[in-house]
């Protein structure tokens, strides 16, 4: 489904200050030009393959499948990409686009630090200046990623406004963009924000579902019964879903961070607890109070700790094409530990949300059915925090 006037159903749009309007119009024009430019596409494909290590593997998790005793489980190994997550797909695309547009400086927000690391990586590769905004709380939760960004030459600015997490990092990156537009591209990390960002990010991430489709057809000769991915803003999920949207027999399941539970205030499950609103440039669902004040959200996962969801997901929910289910901190930590022991793969705590739901779903399905779980990132970054969650005194 393509956005019409920047809308997915009623969602999306361009709710941004006038100062930024010509910048997003210029970005849309440039993107519409380069997305059909064979030379740009070849350059991007070469970066995907030779630099990021694509295509990522589709791995049959035989032990996990046998243990759960139901549907066959395949893992899409986005964690094996360079920089350890799906974020690099979008960043290489946007950085290349920015470079073609004559921009010399990238700014970005980051939650867990994966998008910030990916942006710092692309900036180093392409010789661009890089500034990353990161909530102060997250710089403490993910100190190692802060070091990685600095190592590659990026400046990391801890954001202390608001709740000092991902949403505040987005706000601060937007403020910085209004301050310096001429030489700067805002490399937004998820399928959110004002049009055309949700479409651009979706397109660059859709390589995930393109590959899943080719790989599963080759291995199984048919499409999967369900594709499961975690959802914060929703970029790995929209990437994993996109090429299956027209294949109605494939269930698309997004797993939201329920934090301590959707019946508590300590949650980040937007579809399950939020309502329609306008924020960060888009109309979509947001966690908010009765007067439209954006709620402070919570999840053990810094990457899913966001009070909104991308507009294309909001529409997929409205039209009933995708399901969005809540997964708690405790459930995802159990899944994190389970995959580590069962398959020797340590997933990102974000991806563990998707895995947890797959563990519930698989036993209810028959052995000839297939589930694909998108392992959007690797979990090395989370080990110290999960150890602390389990009461061990480890710091990175």
């Amino acid at each position: 489904m393509e956005a019409k006037n920047g809308r997915f159903g009623i969602h999306g749009g361009q709710y941004i200050p006038e100062t930024l309007m010509n910048a997003v119009i210029e970005l849309e024009k440039a993107y519409n030009h380069y997305k059909n430019d064979p030379e740009f596409q070849k350059e991007l494909q070469d970066l995907f393959n030779d630099y990021a290590g694509r295509p990522s593997r589709l791995y049959y998790a035989a032990k996990m499948t046998a243990d759960l005793g139901g549907a066959k489980i395949y893992l899409k190994r986005e964690d094996l990409n360079h920089t350890g997550a799906h974020k690099i797909n979008n960043v290489l695309g946007q950085a290349l686009l920015a470079k073609k547009m004559g921009k010399t400086r990238l700014i970005a927000e980051t939650g867990a630090g994966q998008h910030g690391v990916a942006t710092a990586t692309a900036a180093a590769l392409m010789g661009m200046e890089c500034v990353v905004f990161m909530g102060k709380e997250d710089t403490e939760r993910q100190a190692l990623n802060v070091y990685r960004m600095r190592l590659m030459g990026a400046t990391v600015i801890p954001v202390t406004s608001g709740t000092a997490t991902l949403k505040d990092a987005v706000s601060e990156a937007m403020r910085e963009w209004t301050n310096r537009i001429e030489d700067t591209h805002y490399c937004l990390g998820s399928c959110m924000g004002p049009h055309p960002f949700p479409t651009i990010v979706r397109d660059f991430q859709s390589v995930i579902s393109k590959e899943i489709k080719e790989q599963i057809l080759e291995k199984e000769g048919r499409l999967p019964d369900a594709v499961i991915a975690c959802v914060g803003g929703g970029s790995n999920a929209i990437g994993a879903f996109y090429n299956f949207i027209e294949d109605k027999e494939v269930r698309l399941i997004g797993c939201e961070a329920a934090g301590r539970g959707i019946d508590t205030f300590e949650t980040a499950a937007t579809i399950n607890t939020g309502k329609l609103g306008i924020f960060h440039g888009m109309k979509s669902y947001f966690c908010q109070d009765e007067y439209g004040q954006i709620a402070p959200v919570y999840s053990i996962s810094a990457g899913l700790d966001y009070p909104g969801i991308g507009p294309e997901h909001a529409n997929l929910h409205d039209i009933g094409r995708a399901e969005y289910v809540p997964v708690t901190d405790e459930e995802s930590v159990q899944a994190f530990e389970y995959l580590s022991r069962m398959e020797g793969i340590i997933p990102a705590i974000e991806s563990a949300h998707a895995l947890s739901y797959a563990m519930k779903l698989a036993p209810t399905m028959s052995k000839d059915q297939i589930i694909v779980v998108n392992i959007s990132g690797r979990g090395d970054k989370d080990c110290a925090a999960i150890a602390r969650y389990r009461g061990e005194n480890i710091y990175d």
Partner: protein, 257 residues
């Protein structure tokens, strides 16, 4: 019936922005009355928002203090009812799209008209999204104020042509806040507005804090808008800010007369 344009009928207008409920609504009421007594021609009342993406640190801080103090949209409507007992100058709201949208656009506009608000500024609603709000504003005789920025260029003509109340000319790139230097060619921006819409007043905001800046900007346009410099005084003097704001607004109004 009061209209925003009335503020521009007695020479150059001074527009005072005040965040409601910083730190209390009683304090806001006192400050508004003192600003009007000092010569403010138009009062811009900020309804706080949790994540004000167009604001610099000064107004962000005011939003945090006001929300921490428990202010809500409904309590601000009550404040306006009280102010309208004696405040005759036009007043408008400055807030973010979600505050209006979540209240219900029609319900919000109806309430504005009922309590005596004359318009609104939503900095995260550009020309492209204006039709979601502007027709309802018109229905209740409220002006939906449009902004133009130093980056607007070829967009100025279409924005100005359908502008209502006045055009808010953003003086500089970036967010709200005091600046020692404004380098944009404001005269050229205002000229483009006037070519497209000869009758619409232009007020300049963002970065203006001193009487010298105000005097210079007032030469280029029909009025000046000052926010952070006032809010900064409220931050510093708190419940004792009203007389300080009076002296400040008087010095600014005198400078643009």
């Amino acid at each position: 019936m009061t209209k925003l344009a009335d503020a521009f009928k007695n020479g150059k207008a001074f527009v005072a922005f005040i965040t409601c409920g910083d730190p209390t609504l009683e304090n806001t009421a006192k400050i508004v009355r003192e600003a009007v007594r000092a010569g403010a021609d138009l009062i811009e009342l900020g309804i706080p928002f949790s994540d004000p993406t167009a604001e610099g640190p000064v107004i962000q801080g005011a939003n945090v203090r006001a929300l921490a103090g428990g202010v809500t949209t409904d309590k601000i409507f009550d404040l306006v009812v009280d102010l309208r007992k004696d405040v005759k100058v036009p007043m408008l709201f400055m807030t973010y799209a979600n505050v209006v949208f979540s209240y219900g656009i029609d319900r919000f506009c109806a309430k504005c008209a009922e309590v005596g608000i004359n318009g609104m500024i939503l900095p995260d609603v550009p020309f492209e999204e204006k039709e979601e709000f502007a027709p309802t504003c018109r229905k209740y005789d409220l002006d939906f104020v449009s902004l133009i920025a130093p980056t607007s260029a070829d967009r100025i003509a279409k924005i100005a042509a359908s502008a209502e109340g006045f055009v808010y000319c953003v003086s500089s790139l970036g967010v709200t806040g005091m600046r020692s230097n404004i380098t944009t060619d404001i005269g050229a921006m205002v000229k483009l507005v006037r070519e497209a819409n000869p009758s619409i007043p232009c007020a300049i905001g963002f970065g203006i804090s001193t009487p010298e800046q105000a005097a210079k900007m007032a030469k280029e346009a029909d009025g000046v808008i000052v926010g952070s410099a006032i809010v900064n005084r409220v931050a510093e003097y708190g419940l004792d800010a009203a007389p300080v704001v009076y002296e400040y607004v008087k010095s600014m109004k005198d400078a643009i007369r």
